[in-house]
C-alpha cells in the first residue's frame, strides 16, 4: 500500500469513527469534547496530518483536498448533532422548570372598604355626575341648625320624634344646648349660607353625606348611622324635577330601572313633602316578606324646600324654589346587597367586611 493510500485509509476510518462518536454524544458538553478531540489544534485530525510531510510533493495537493473534505464532513455532522442536542436540551429545561400554576399567588393582605363606605361612594358619585357639589358639616350641632332653621320650632311635635342626643359641657351661641345632629339636613343651611357667600345667589346643587345620631337602639335602629342629603335651589325648580332626579338616581344606584312611588307625607322643612317608595327589589313588585306583601319599599323622604327654610338663609322664596331629600345609607346598602340586619354594619366582623367590601 502506498503512503498516500495508507493516509487516505486512516482519514476514512477516522471519519467513520468520529461520525459514530458524534451520533452517540449525549449532551452539548460531550459534543464539545468530541469537537476538540477530533478537530482541535491537537486533535486526531491534526495528528493524521503530521503524516502528510512524508508524502511526495505531487501527492500533497491530492491528500490536502481529501483532508479538507473530511474536515468539512465532520464539521457539518457536528453542527447537525449540536442543533439536535440544543432542541433536546431546551425541552429538558422546560420540563424541569414546570410549575403548578394553580398554587395561590403571592398577595399582601387584601383590604376592603366598609360596605357603608361603598354605598356612600356610589351615591355621591351618582350625584357628582349629575352636577351636585359635595359638602360636609359638623356632627355636633346647635338647635338652630338642626331644628329652628329647618322650620322645626321648639314646641313642634316633630322635634320630639327626633330622639336627640344632647351634649353636656357644651353651649352654643346664646347658650343654646348642643346636640348630635339627628339628620344631615342642617348641612342644607350651612351649605346654602356658604354658597351664597361665595356666589351671591342660586343656582346651587349639593350632596352632603355624613354621620347622624338618634337616641334609639334596637334591632332596626342604630344610635349612629349615615345619611346623604341632596338639594337643589334655582329658579322654577319643581316637584316634577324632584321626581326626575329621584327616578334617575334610584335607577342608577340599583343598576336597573326601578319603579318609584311618591306618597304625600309631612316634614317640617319641605312643603309639599313626599315619602318615596321603590318597587320591591326582592320580588319585582309582586309582594314578598320584605315589602310586607305591598310590592313597595320605602327608601327616603323628600319634598320642596319650605319657604321658611329658604328665608332662614336669606333666599327669596318668591324668586327661587328648591327640592331636598335625605336618605339612609345603611338602608340603601341593605336593599342593594340583601343584607338582613342593620347591626352587621357596626359589629365589624372581618368575615362580613371582606365579603361585602368587594365593589360588586
Amino acid at each position: 500500500m502506498s503512503e498516500i493510500d495508507a493516509l487516505k485509509d486512516r482519514l476514512e476510518s477516522l471519519q467513520a469513527e468520529a461520525l459514530a462518536a458524534f451520533a452517540g454524544a449525549e449532551d452539548l458538553n460531550g459534543l464539545q469534547g468530541l469537537r476538540v478531540h477530533y478537530l482541535g489544534k491537537k486533535g486526531a485530525l491534526t495528528e493524521v496530518l503530521k503524516g502528510v510531510g512524508k508524502l511526495a510533493p505531487a501527492d500533497r495537493p491530492v491528500i490536502g483536498k481529501f483532508v479538507n473534505q473530511t474536515k468539512q464532513a465532520l464539521a457539518v455532522a457536528l453542527d447537525a448533532v449540536e442543533a439536535e442536542l440544543a432542541v433536546k436540551a431546551k425541552a429538558a429545561r422546560i420540563e424541569a422548570e414546570r410549575i403548578d400554576v394553580t398554587l395561590s399567588g403571592r398577595k399582601s393582605g387584601s383590604g376592603a372598604l366598609h360596605p357603608v363606605q361603598n354605598g356612600l361612594d356610589e351615591l355621591t358619585a351618582i350625584f357628582s355626575q349629575m352636577g351636585f357639589a359635595v359638602a360636609e358639616g359638623p356632627e355636633i350641632e346647635d338647635e338652630f341648625h338642626n331644628f329652628d332653621a329647618l322650620n322645626i320650632p321648639a314646641e313642634h311635635p316633630a322635634r320630639a320624634m327626633h330622639d336627640t342626643f344632647f351634649l353636656k359641657d357644651l353651649q352654643g351661641d346664646d347658650g343654646q344646648p348642643m346636640l348630635l345632629r339627628t339628620h344631615t339636613s342642617p348641612v342644607q343651611i350651612r351649605a346654602m349660607k356658604r354658597f351664597l357667600a361665595e356666589s351671591g345667589e342660586p343656582p346651587l346643587a349639593v350632596v352632603a353625606p355624613g354621620r347622624v345620631y338618634r337616641c334609639d337602639y334596637d334591632v332596626t335602629h342604630s344610635p349612629m348611622f349615615h345619611q346623604v342629603e341632596v338639594f337643589k335651589v334655582d329658579r322654577d325648580v319643581s316637584l316634577a324635577h324632584l321626581k326626575g332626579v329621584l327616578q334617575h338616581f334610584l335607577s342608577a344606584y340599583f343598576e336597573k330601572e326601578v319603579a318609584i312611588r311618591l306618597r304625600p307625607h309631612y316634614f317640617p322643612f319641605t312643603e309639599p313633602s313626599a315619602e318615596v317608595d321603590i318597587g320591591c327589589v326582592f320580588c319585582a313588585g309582586k309582594g314578598c316578606r320584605i315589602c310586607k306583601g305591598s310590592g313597595w319599599i320605602e327608601v327616603l323622604g323628600s319634598g320642596m324646600i319650605h319657604p321658611n327654610v329658604l328665608k332662614s338663609v336669606g333666599i327669596d322664596s318668591e324668586e327661587f324654589s328648591g327640592f331636598a331629600f335625605g336618605l339612609g345609607v345603611e338602608r340603601m346598602v341593605m336593599l342593594k346587597k340583601g343584607i338582613p340586619d342593620l347591626r352587621l354594619f357596626f359589629e365589624n366582623d372581618v368575615r362580613f367586611l371582606s365579603r361585602m367590601g368587594v365593589a360588586k
Binding site: 363606605q117 314646641e155 344610635p223 321626581k243 329621584l246 306618597r263 309639599p272 372581618v350
Partner: protein, 785 residues
Amino acid sequence: MKIPFSWLKKHVALTTTPNQIADDLVRLGHEVEGVETPRAAVKGVRVGLIESKIPHPDADKLSLLKVNIGEAEPLGIVCGAANMAEGDRVPVATIGASLPNGLKIKKGKIRGEVSFGMCCSESELGLAEDAAGLLILPADAPVGAEVGDYLELEEAVFDLSITPNRGDCMNVRGIARDLAADAGLPLADIDKSMIETNGDIAAPAVSVTAEQDCPVYMARSIQGITVADSPAWMQAALMMAGMRPINGIVDVLSYIMLDLGQPMHAFDADRLAGNISIRSARDGEDFAALDGRELKLNAGDLVVSDADSVIALGGIMGSEASGVTGATTNIVLESAFFRPARVSETRRIYAMVSEASMRFERGVDPAMVAIAMQRATAMMTELFGGSAGEITLCGDADTINSGRSVRCQVSRIATRLGVDIPVAADAVLTRMGFGVNRHEDRLDVAIPSFRHDVSIPEDISEEYARIIGFDAIPAVLPPLSTIRPDQQDRSIHDAVAGGFLQVVSYAFISSDEQRLFVAADGLDIALQNPISDAMSMMRRSPWPGLLSVARHNLNRQQSGVALVEQGRTYVQTVAGHDETNTMAWLMTGQTQQDQWHCAARQADFFDLKGALETWLSLRGLTGRFIADDAIQGLQAGQSAKILIGRTEAGRIGRVDGDIAAAFDIDAPVFVAEINLDKLPAGKQAKFVPLPEFPAVERDLVFLFDRNTSSDAILNAVKSGAGKLLTDARIFDLYAGKGVPEGKISLGIRFTLQDAKRTLTQEDSDAASSAIIAAMDKRFGASLRG
C-alpha cells in the same frame, strides 16, 4: 291611630273595599301601617226563605226544611233548631261555605235524610258568643243575597300613622272627610240636637286667668248619674280603635274624642272644692296625676284647679283625686281649647303623653269644643241617666283660627308642582272644607278652622298635589347646574389598598375607654342622655373602638387583624369644641395565614409603619417618625410621633400590654392615627428628566452602638457623602454572634449619580471615604471587617 271601617261608614257611605280604601288613604297622605280584619267577610251564606217545614221522620228534634235561596229549586235542609217557621227568612250556609268558627259546609245525611246546607245562628256567623236558635232575618231581607253583604259582617281596622301636621285627622271624622272629598261623596251631618237642661242645676263657677293658653273653656254639671259599663257596641268600637273600656263616663268621652277629635275631661263634682280656675301653676305646686306620678310643677304650667289643689294639667291629664269612679253620681264636664305650644312644652317637660295631649298639641277644631260637649251630655244622660245644667263658657271659639285665607297664583303652584292645576281639583278642595275662589290666575282660599297646618301658598300647593296625585306629576330631569366638581378624597381608599379592612365604630365610648389614651383634663364631651354607660362619651381617640373590633374578631377565630377607620374625634376647646377628621390603623397577630411560599408572621411595628409611609407617599408626603416614650397608652420604646414637616400630625406605637390584655388580646397590638385636618396638601409630582448616565451603588457595613437611631445615621450619610449621593438606606441589620455586646451591625447601601457624566472609581472611593469619616466622627462607628 286605629280606625274601624264600620266607624268610618257612619260618616261617609263608602262603597269600596277596605283594601281600596287603604290605597286611597296612602294616596291622600295617610300612611297605612296595616289593615287588620277582626271579622273576615262571610262568603256563601245566603238569605233563605223557608217554604215548608215538616218533622224529621226518625228524630223528634229535627225538622226537614225546603228553603228558597233564589235558585230554581229550593234546598232540602235538615235543621235542629226550633225557633223558625214557614215564611221566615234565615241565613243559609250553602255547600262549600266556611263559617267564622271554622266549620266547612258539606252535603251530609242526618238520620237518613240528605241536607244540602245549614241554617245558621248568630253565634255560627260570629255575631254573638252563643245563641238559642236560628238568626231570623227581617222580612224584607232579599232572598238569595249574600248575608255577609246584607248584614255588613265584614270589618276591617285601618292602622294609620297620622303625620304631626294633621291634628284634624286624629279622629274618624277627619279621615272620613278626606275620603269623602276624594270620592265625591257627602259627609254625614253631626247630630247637633240640643238637650234639655235642668234649671235647678247651677252652672259651674269658672274663672280663666290664663286666657292666652286657654282661650276657650266650657264646663257644665251633670247630676244624678248612675255610672255603668258603656254599651257593648261602644266597647267593641273602642277596643278595635285600640283603647281599653274603663267606665261608661270615660268611655263616652273617649268615643267622642275618637269620633270628632275633641278631648274632654270629667271631674267627680263631689270631689271638687269650690270654684274652678284655669291659671298658671305656682312654682313648686304639687300635682298627683291620674297615672300615679307626683309632680312638682313649674311656674307657667297651665293648670285647672279648684279652691284647694290642681285638678288637671291643662289638656294633658287630670288628677287622681278628682277623677270619675264607679261611685260617681255628679260630674263636672270640661271641653276646652288649649294652646298647642303650651301643651307641647308641658308634655315634653314632664314626659307625660296622653291621647288628649297628642290632639291638643297638634291643634283641635275650636268649632268642635261646643258640639262635642253637647254630644257627650246627650250620650251620658241617655245611657246613664241624670240631668245636665247650663254651660259655663269662658272665651269665644269663633275668634280662634277664623277668617284665615291665602291668596296665591295658580300659575305659580303649577310651576312649582310641574303639572297643570285642573279646575276640577277646586271642587275636591272645597269638599275638604276650604273655601275656593279662582279668578283666572288668582286663587283665594279660605282655610277651615280645623286646618292649623295651612297658612301659606305652599300649603295650598300641597293640597293640590294630594288631590291631583303624586303619580300624575311627571318625572323631569332639571337642567344641570354648572359647578366645579370636587376631587374625591382618596384617604380611605388608599389605606384599604394597603391591605387593611375598613371598619365603622360608634363615635361614643365609655369613660373608662376614654381614659386609656387620653388623660383626664376636663375637655371630654359627654352625652346628657346616653344609651348606656358604655356609650356615654364622644371619643377623643379612635383606638378604643378599634381595640373593641379587634377583640370581637380575635374571639371569632381570626389569627390577626389589620383595620383602618376614618372618622371624627371630639374635644372641648377654648373656643367651644372641635371635631377632628382622623384616620386610624390597628394591626395585631398574624394578618397573613401560613402560605406555601411563606410562613405566617406576627405583625410588628414596621408592618404598620410601612403602611403609613406608603399611605403618606400616595398623598405626596413624607413623615418623620420621632421616638416618643410619653404617649399615653403606648409602650415606651415602641412608640413615635409622626411629623409632617414641622407639624405633629400623628402617632404610632405598640399598645401598652395591660391595655391589650384588658381587651383580651395577647399578641402585640400596633396602632396609629393621623390627624387629617393637619395634613398639608401634598406636593404635586413635577416632571424631572430621566438620568442619562448610570448610577453606582456601594455597600458599607459598620458597627454602631446598639441604640443609635438609623434615622440619624442616614441623615449623617446624606450630609457627609457629597453632592453625588442620590439615595442611602439600611440594607442589613444584625446583632448577635460575631458582633460585640452592645453593638449592632448596620449595612448601608448608597447610590451615586451625576446628570452630566459617567462616574469613576475615584468618585465612589471618595464618597466611601467621606461616609466612613462621617460615621467615625459622628458615631464613633467603625467599618466591620
